[in-house]
């Protein structure tokens, strides 16, 4: 199967590979996988807690070229967006940008799931922080 030039570019020069401090309250981690093809994808965001803007995004994906390209592209798009804006990223945007063929659409779904999981993790951490603060105030 022929990959598009954009997929090959991201595959050969993946952007933002790496990891962020998982334990930090400003970092959200999304870990998703597709058992069918054995792919696993980790995507992390670091959010500025003052203004809700995503300052950094990292990923590490074990999987096919399309899965790597989808998550690489996702991290590029995430940076500079607010968390709410990031939630608007749809897998179809990734499909269009990378010209993914139908058999590889699940890779873009995986990337969208990873974004959502990372944001949800970030929000859980933030709300538990607020709760802890509230408890401390009450005490």
């Amino acid at each position: 199967m022929a990959y598009s030039d954009k997929v090959l570019d991201h595959y050969n020069h993946p952007r933002n590979v790496g990891s962020l401090d998982k334990s930090s309250a400003s970092v959200g981690t999304g870990m998703v996988g597709a058992p069918e093809c054995g792919d696993v994808m980790k995507l992390q965001i670091r959010v500025n807690e003052e203004n809700g803007i995503i300052e950094d995004a990292k990923f590490k994906t074990f999987g096919c070229g399309s899965a790597i390209a989808s998550s690489s592209l996702a991290t590029e798009w995430l940076k500079g967006k607010t968390v709410d804006e990031a939630l608007q990223i749809k897998n179809t945007d990734i499909v269009n940008e990378l010209s993914l063929p139908p058999v590889k659409i699940h890779c873009s779904v995986l990337a969208e799931d990873a974004i959502k999981a990372a944001i949800s993790d970030y929000r859980t951490k933030q709300s538990s922080k607020v709760n802890t603060l509230a408890e401390q105030t009450v005490a």
Binding site: M31, V32, P35, G38, V40, F62, H106, L110
Partner: protein
């Protein structure tokens, strides 16, 4: 499968077409599409491979298209269809993993494309860590073969453990037909899929870094 014989219409007393051949006119009936039904077995996850093989050979002899060369064109057609179903059914049922996936499908589980929701998070974490370790091994320019070999053995152990767990769950489902056991089985099959994938990766000597 129709309960009425296509040939005699079940007109004769005691005529019944629920089996392979009409009980009255002996005409070959269209093959059952359910593989268990085809082998005249209950829907079950634990099968005796010897018994299955015996049934396979017996049916092969019974349904061979050569035996129907003098019969009606409709029976010839059914014998061809039956021979094809026989081979597919045997291939699926003799392999415990393929059999389990088949039962999941029959029971209405989606075994095709699955997403994270169906995978326990700790498994994803584990698979991710294993992949990381494997990649580090592969990056090492000096002799990584012994390490890869060790990793492969570890993954094979994980697969064997999963298989043992599956075996237990298979028996449990056969005894109770409880749906939540099938959900657990699907989880284990996902885990197995990941692990076999890792075994493949660890089994191939890296040819490029």
């Amino acid at each position: 499968m129709s309960a009425v014989c296509w040939n005699c219409g079940g007109g004769a007393p005691g005529a019944e077409a629920s089996g392979r051949f009409c009980t009255a006119c002996k005409a070959l009936q269209p093959p059952a599409t359910d593989y268990f039904e085809f082998f005249e077995l209950p829907r079950q996850l634990v099968l005796d491979p010897k018994d299955l093989e015996k049934r396979f050979y017996a049916l092969s002899r019974q349904l061979h298209p050569d035996l129907f060369s003098r019969k009606s064109s409709r029976e010839q057609e059914y014998s061809l269809e039956s021979a094809a179903v026989l081979n597919d059914a045997y291939r699926v049922l003799k392999d415990p993993i393929a059999r389990a996936l088949y039962v999941l499908k029959l029971e209405g589980f989606d075994t095709g494309e699955q997403t994270t929701k169906d995978v326990p998070p700790e498994l994803l974490e584990e698979v991710f860590e294993l992949n990381m370790a494997l990649e580090e091994l592969r990056m090492g320019d000096t002799d990584v073969l012994p390490q890869l070999e060790a990793a492969r053995l570890r993954f094979e152990n994980m697969r064997d453990e999963t298989d043992a767990e599956l075996q237990t769950k298979f028996g449990a489902w056969d005894a109770s037909h409880e749906r939540n056991i099938l959900t657990e089985i699907r989880g284990l099959l996902n885990r197995r899929k990941y692990v076999t994938n890792l075994i493949d990766k660890a089994s191939h000597v890296p040819d490029r870094v």
